[in-house]
Symmetry: C2
Subunit: 203 residues, 2 copies
């Protein structure tokens, strides 16, 4: 089993943090997106959707989509549980992971891809007005997350989960847009300091 | 347990199809989005992210995000399995469900929200250029799906799954944009006829 990895991009980092939390080390195959290595014919055979990372099993089976990779790892290595324990907690982890992905993460990505010079090559063309529409959404989603973290230590509740990993990756991704967490979001700042201090955060 | 439902919108339909495939009938609480009923204070107490549908448990616990609701239902009612059986099949269902959501579904939604008069109220303002950028993506994602359906009867492989439900909802959502499946995508057309003929499709 080996992981086709993409260096500093947020989704590959998400899977590396997940593996680090599981105490697992997989062989990494570097994929340099800036050299379009994810668009080669050989890579398309692994993932016709061209996204990274991709988990390649020993028989050549390829699993892409970061959360699908993480779920597969969770089934093979259930401890520590990162998708929740029991039907209700698992539903909450899924709910929060999706709220972060379709909310904060997607908004940060839109700002990057449509207003940052370094994001231009990822799109057919940049639509600066789309970036502008997403800038206030980033702040709105940070506030929603702060409200949740006022009530719970972690994004999905009492336990560290994949929702914390997704949120950390999204928040750190904001740096490239020079977006900072507003000072008044104290709960979010407290959470960020705590999850960033875990050994996995440097993965 | 009851479902706060949203009529014709695609995500509420996704959960209703899922329930129909499970042979379950839940009490539905209608939420009229066109009257902004999902933005009232009482609805925000159920879901601060304001999306529908929301599953409300008997003790008042609220689960939102369609796929989180479906996973919770799957845990309570495992048959027939709609998230796959075994680690690898479950990973494939997750992978394909996400490919459809972040690919086809998101592109169709962007076209609707940013170019259709009926989508204007869902956004702070419409960005027609963003809709234009997404129109060719819809066709690209239909082709990727056709290629998968050339090899397998269903979106995630041999078994009908939530990935088929998400894909059907996305394809039917195209109608409002007057986008049709191109005639040469025979496998996609064959699949669409088959999944549309299931009793659940009218849910």
């Amino acid at each position: 089993m080996r992981l086709h990895d993409g260096g500093r991009a947020p989704n590959p980092r998400r899977v590396r943090i997940f593996l680090a939390e599981k105490g697992l080390a997989l062989p990494l195959v570097p994929v340099d997106m800036t050299k379009h290595e994810h668009r080669t014919e050989s890579f398309r055979a692994l993932n016709p959707y061209r996204g990274i990372p991709v988990l390649e099993l020993d028989d050549g089976t390829a699993i892409s989509e970061s959360v699908a990779i993480c779920r597969y790892i969770e089934e093979l290595h259930p401890e520590p549980p990162l998708f929740g324990v029991g039907a209700l907690e698992r539903a909450r982890v899924e709910m929060w992971n999706r709220r972060i992905e379709f909310g904060l993460y997607t908004a940060v990505q839109a700002v990057f891809r449509h207003s940052h010079p370094g994001g231009a090559w990822l799109e057919a063309r940049q639509v600066p007005e789309w970036a502008e529409l997403n800038k206030p959404r980033v702040i709105e989603h940070l506030s929603l997350l702060d409200a949740q973290l006022a009530l719970h230590p972690h994004v999905a509740g009492e336990r560290y989960s994949i929702a914390d990993i997704t949120a950390l990756v999204a928040v750190d991704f904001m740096r490239i847009n020079r977006t900072a967490i507003p000072d008044d979001l104290k709960h979010l700042l407290r959470w960020k300091a705590a999850v960033s201090a875990r050994a996995s955060a440097s993965a």
